[in-house]
Symmetry: C2
Subunit: 305 residues, 2 copies
Amino acid sequence: MEKKVRDIGEIELIRRFGASFGLDRTVKKGIGDDTAVIEWTKSKYLLFTCDMILQDVHFKLNRATPFQIGWKALARNVSDIAAMGGEPKYALISIGLDPMTPVKTADGIYKGIKAAAERFGINVVGGDTSRSRKLVIDVSLIGQVEKRNLVTRSGAKKGDAIFVTGFLGGSLKRKHLDFIPRIKDARALVKKYSISSMIDISDGLVLDLWRVLDASRVGARITESGIPLSQDAVSFERGVTDGEDFELLFTMNPGEAARLLRSARPVTDASVSLIGEVMDKAYGMRFVDDNGREKKMNAQGYLHF
Amino acid sequence: MEKKVRDIGEIELIRRFGASFGLDRTVKKGIGDDTAVIEWTKSKYLLFTCDMILQDVHFKLNRATPFQIGWKALARNVSDIAAMGGEPKYALISIGLDPMTPVKTADGIYKGIKAAAERFGINVVGGDTSRSRKLVIDVSLIGQVEKRNLVTRSGAKKGDAIFVTGFLGGSLKRKHLDFIPRIKDARALVKKYSISSMIDISDGLVLDLWRVLDASRVGARITESGIPLSQDAVSFERGVTDGEDFELLFTMNPGEAARLLRSARPVTDASVSLIGEVMDKAYGMRFVDDNGREKKMNAQGYLHF
């Protein structure tokens, strides 16, 4: 039997893809983080990311307004820039839609994109339109970050404290359509603290935590009771594996963590919860319940294939 | 009856879209040229463009190899960078494909992208994968151009000579799947000559010429017999309206034009043909046949809606 993309999975597909490309010295990070990182000016890096959303995969036309779809298309990318500690700057919008789409729908999508662009200070500088039976929107976004404020997935160290912002799970009920990417919170954190690693939780806590651990070559011990579950979460299992929270997951060394926990005035709008500790790689990824029982976790969030 | 996207057409759709966005001073050109132009360093601009190709719109799976599809996805964007006088640098690849796609097909697409990336010196720094019933690839590309070498659509002046590279029409037979974007030719032209305007011919000579005239607020008189028609072109009409030639259309003042025509050693690999003259706006766009008869032309190339 011929092997299908489904058989190898998304992670292996991206790995194959990434492995085949050579990069020059101006590329600081290529495939494998929330955004690519490229030399820009003496004090700044350029961040470069893209994200495609498709009808019936990421949204349903009868359950989201055109405005929400436009907002979401851009906000997902902003969340990736936030995860690097940066600010979004320039966006391109590629959109494929059916010629029989009502003009009102197209206008609604643009209004959602515009609202997000204005809120986050983004210049929409171009795009592409095409015929497509199903609505598809791909946004590519250039951002920037001061070199001293760059945070990647790969800096977590054994002994670091693990934090998340906001509440997890339950996003699929509603929030995924009009979430506010944590750009303000991320900027405040990188300016005030030394963050060792960060990622935005787009595919569920378990999978995105695994990505940080894999990139940093470490393990983690997560205290189940420390996880700030959303009231909308259907169950604990779903809360830590359902996608589209768009909260931040980050790590700090114990000194910085103490400083964050002690601070009288929080620097973030969102709440910040301590959920665990970075362990060595051999430990793997384990969740601990109230009785001290440890459970090995596998990375099984929202995978596309 | 509710208005559909089909009723207003692609040009109006993009106009509505473009009109709604505010841009800061770092954006030199937004929507309305082959790429966006953004301030970068003292001597260089950053160019930013994207292009989406969809199964059954831009290619058919049973008539193109996976390698050709990958090549084409990246090469189209390279052609846009060429039209600005620049060089491509960093690309992101968003790909939506059916989970039942053979791994061999995905590998073939990546090989095509890789071949184009290597040939044109591009760093593929990331991307996104998603489920999609029809194959869709959106490439976004960052390029750079020395400020003195930037060419836009909007600089054509009355009296300028109009040139095209290579041969037009007939691309849909085969060439559109493995064309060589005119990056080398464009770089040679902008370095050696003063080019007043340039565009890559992606939607047929008539429509892309109209884009230059519209942006430059001028008209044009095209000598039919001067147009270098491809041997594969089905007819003259089709030759000047069929899409995907990916040749360059450019204008030069008469002095520079004379210098180009006199030069013993051509700077381009492709042939360069003088096809007409820039007129004032009121003249419109006219084709002239061998008997001196003038024909008014409308912009009707390959529009997506």
